[in-house]
């Protein structure tokens, strides 16, 4: 298995062979298309089957494969340099949108912003991260990233109904179904959420949609935690650098009633705080009841930080210009003692080396290893990205 950040060749395969093979067989591929992605061989397949073929060949010759969508979450698990980089720009359309059914089937490489724009025209939303930047649907799901509105609608994985997956053994697998209630077989579709490309490439996904609420509003508060107790099913409750925000949605009467319960005015629309843009970013994850303590902890750090804490969820993204490894280690130990984790979202290569991306691997490691081996027998897909070096 490769360790993050080392790139290189796994089993003595040849880049020339894959380039030649694909050039011969897939004229549609544009091997050098994909901007800033660094790899020996970069390709942007136009179909999931093509992607599976590339993976199959890479597995045969022992070349590592990484996946790139919008490049927004590459830091999770460490920035890997793989031999082959599959870029999903070629898999970027809406396949089947059924507004009446509240489902949409979309290519994994479609940028979230584009998808939400399409859905918005019909007054619907896939409830994906609100500030996606260039993030793609598939990449976001693979990264396990969720919107702020998860407090009301659940994490992103709750909306993944069906996935087509190009596995590490070069097959295209369809998992799940295009229905919102499903007890048919094993939920491989949901397993893809947060899998970081380690069991396959998400070629397309069917998402459960929600209608846009009648109206939305934002209420600024001093004490986010206290406000959280006053309202019922808010979309989100955030604390960003000391300032609290409650996000509401529903009929105007509902919003008025809820804002009234808080006792502060409601401004129309969902006004999210600016995204964290710091070079070093961590995600602190603790049980919701421990979030206040987590906030206090990071605010006590020596270096200045900026944070976005999700009240009621227990997740907090913290950004800083420079990392103090000891403080991070200490915070991680504390978070883990609460049953949570401190995850390195991004930072320099040294930081990954000294701190480690994930912390203590989960107790189910042996089962996770077996799943990884089952779906990636050659061990070529984003090797080493997952906790425990999987």
């Amino acid at each position: 298995m490769l360790r993050p950040g080392t790139g290189g060749v796994c089993r003595g395969g040849s880049v020339t062979s894959i380039r030649a093979a694909t050039a011969r067989m897939f004229e549609r591929m544009r091997p050098d298309d994909a901007g800033s992605v660094e790899a020996e061989f970069v390709t942007a397949p136009q179909t999931i089957e093509d992607a599976a073929a590339v993976i199959a060949h890479a597995a045969d010759v022992g070349l590592s494969v990484g996946f790139h969508g919008g490049g927004t979450h590459q830091g999770l698990g460490g920035r890997l340099r793989t031999d082959v980089a599959i870029v999903t720009t070629g898999l970027s359309g809406v396949i089947d949108y059924q507004p009446e059914d509240l489902t949409v089937v979309v290519d994994g490489g479609m940028p979230i912003a584009e998808l939400e724009a399409v859905l918005d025209e019909r007054g619907q939303t896939a409830v994906l991260p609100e500030q996606p930047g260039a993030a793609t649907v598939g990449g976001t799901i693979a990264a396990g990233a969720s919107p702020f509105r998860r407090l009301r609608y659940g994490p992103t994985r709750d909306r993944v109904l069906q996935v087509t997956l190009a596995t590490g053994y070069g097959q295209v697998v369809t998992a799940g179904g295009r229905v919102v209630k499903n007890s048919t077989g094993y939920d491989l579709a949901r397993l893809c959420a947060g899998s970081l490309g380690s069991i396959g490439l998400i070629g397309s996904v069917c998402l459960k949609l929600w209608p846009n609420p009648v109206e939305t509003a934002t209420v600024a508060v001093d004490d986010a935690a206290a406000a959280h107790e006053e309202v019922y099913r808010p979309f989100a409750v955030l604390e960003a650098d000391g300032q609290g925000y409650v996000y509401l949605g529903g009929t105007p009467q509902e919003i008025q009633a809820q804002a009234g319960a808080i006792g502060r005015p409601a401004l129309p629309g969902l006004r999210w705080p600016d995204p964290v843009g710091s070079p070093v970013q961590v995600s602190v994850r603790v049980p919701p009841r421990d979030l206040a303590a987590a906030i206090a902890l990071v605010r006590s750090w020596r270096s200045p930080i900026t944070y976005r804490a999700q009240i009621g969820v227990g997740e907090m993204t913290v950004g800083m210009d420079e990392a103090d490894v000891d403080e991070l280690r200490h915070a991680r130990a504390w978070a883990e003692s609460r049953g949570g984790a401190l995850v390195l979202l991004d930072g320099g290569g040294d930081l990954y080396a000294s701190l480690g991306a994930w912390g203590t691997p989960p107790p189910s490691q042996s089962i996770q290893r077996r799943i990884k081996e089952a779906f990636d027998p050659a061990g070529v897909l984003n090797p080493g990205k997952l906790p425990g070096g999987l």
């Binding site: 094993y186 947060g194 995850v343």
Partner: protein, 480 residues
């Protein structure tokens, strides 16, 4: 498997070492009583144990593994797909005694519960804290949370709240090797692969669930329940579409057809409109002013779609009565004929009316009496066939009709089960919705947990699912 006599003697003796004589059953009468769940199949039971701790569960599994006896897990035995029915003489692990509710966190809204807690009991026990467990299958007064995890159970309120998988934060499982593992946790987004997703809906085939960290839902400050009568099904279906298009997702949206309404009204006298072609039961939750506004919105839409009567429950008592009608579907149907068969089909919501029409046609062709109740918001259709099993050939017709209904649903873009699970009942139909490659992938997932086939074998996946191995160098076979 070896000489049955000596094997079973060993089994009993060794199990007795784990759980003691009082929580072990092996008398033929007990084994007979445990050979069925609420479905139509029965199977052979070698022994029954009632463990009280995770250690006991692990101990029993180790015994079974050593002796090569398959293990089947059972809650209250309300499953309809044969998930708790063995296909060969098996050890039945009954989880009803593991019914603790512990570590209730009212801030985080979570609780650790034993798999044997009855679904409705859990909500009742938490009511005074203003919390409940959202998945509410119709069998909730009897079924256990462990069973809900096994089948990814749903219920009317899953429209807005999601099915069981959205309400499980962690599970403690004992795998086939007798090892105890916790997957997930109280903190959001546990690192690593999300194994909770695999456990929920795995129907006892990859581990025995011994503790569950459930996500609890706040009781709504206010509720409004409506009962709306329509002169035609299209009107009811159209209303559902319009409600959602208006940006409102009600807490529940249930529909019943005329035969069902008549049967229900005859049984519980809840004031259901017996002349309606279809009845819509809608429920909205929120703050008082908000629910009133939403209820009015729904009423407006319904009337524009031709509703002949809109009844909004004035108080809790009336709300109970309206729901009583919906929840008495079984009882109502049982008045018609001694037996009934409850189907579970799920289709894209917009195909509901088409599939319903096809279902009626299937019923007519097979000479069956059909009554329908469905979760209108999420396309989950439950045709209920009312029949007398004593009549010759009747059961065969019911089974044949069931198969056709599944086919129609799959053709309409649906899948095999919305909430009951695959079990034994639909195992051999998996090929109609999944290719060999798809089934192979699911088998890989299952085998990563249990490749011995010890746990609930012969369920969910058809035999030979784990078949596909891509031979190296067969690159040419995989092409555009």
């Amino acid at each position: 498997m070896g000489a049955p006599y000596s094997r079973s003697m060993d089994l009993i003796a060794e199990l007795q070492d784990v759980v003691g004589p009082d929580r072990l059953r092996h008398h033929p009468l007990d084994l007979h009583v445990f050979s069925r769940d609420a479905g139509v199949t029965a199977g052979p039971v070698a022994a029954v144990v009632f463990p009280e701790t995770t250690d006991e569960v692990a101990g029993c599994i180790r015994v079974a593994a050593r002796l090569g006896v398959p293990v089947v897990t059972r809650g209250a035995g309300t499953g309809l797909a044969g998930g708790a029915v063995p296909t060969e003489p098996s050890l039945l692990i009954v989880m009803t005694k593991m019914d603790a509710v512990e570590s209730v966190d009212t801030v985080g809204r979570t609780a650790w519960v034993g798999p044997g807690v009855i679904n409705l009991d859990l909500s009742r026990r938490l009511d005074h804290l203003g919390l409940h467990f959202a998945p509410d299958p119709s069998s909730q007064q009897s079924c256990t949370v462990g069973g809900n995890v096994g089948t990814n159970a749903g219920g009317p309120h899953c429209l807005a709240d999601g099915t069981t998988t959205a309400h499980v934060l962690a599970v403690e499982i004992v795998t086939a090797d007798g090892e105890v593992t916790v997957v997930g946790g109280e903190a959001p987004d546990p690192i690593g692969l999300d194994l909770r997703a695999v456990v929920v809906g795995s129907e006892g085939t990859i581990g025995v669930v011994t503790r569950i960290l459930v996500r609890l839902t706040e009781n709504p400050p206010s509720v409004r329940t409506l009962l709306v009568a329509f002169p035609d099904i299209a009107g009811a279906a159209g209303t559902v579409s319009d409600i959602i298009a208006a940006g409102v997702v009600p807490a529940a949206l249930e529909m019943m057809d005329n035969p069902m309404v008549r049967a229900v009204e005859n049984y519980v006298h809840a004031g259901y409109p017996v002349d309606a072609a279809a009845v819509l039961l809608a429920e909205v939750v929120g703050f008082a002013d908000g629910v009133t506004a939403e209820a009015e919105l729904i009423e407006g839409i319904a009337r524009r779609r031709g509703a002949t009567d809109v009844r909004i429950a004035a108080d809790d008592e009336e709300r109970e009565l309206i729901w009583k009608g919906r929840k008495s579907a079984f009882g109502a149907v049982a008045q018609n004929a001694p037996d009934y068969y409850l189907h579970d089909t799920v289709v894209p919501r917009t195909k509901l009316v088409d599939v319903l029409t096809a279902v009626y046609e299937i019923g007519e062709r097979h000479g069956l009496t059909l009554l329908n109740v469905f979760h209108a918001g999420d396309g989950n259709l439950h045709p209920l066939v009312s029949f007398d099993a004593e009549k010759p050939g009747m059961t065969e017709r019911v089974v044949a009709a069931a198969k056709e209904m599944v086919e129609v649903s799959v053709d309409a873009g649906g899948t095999l089960s919305g909430e009951h699970g695959i079990g034994l009942e639909k195992r051999d139909l998996m090929g109609s919705v999944f290719s060999d490659i798809d089934l192979d992938a699911q088998a890989r997932l299952r085998d990563a947990f249990d490749s011995s086939g010890l746990l609930n074998p012969d369920k969910v996946l058809p035999e030979g699912s784990r078949c596909f191995d891509r031979a190296p160098g067969a690159f040419a076979a995989v092409g555009p």
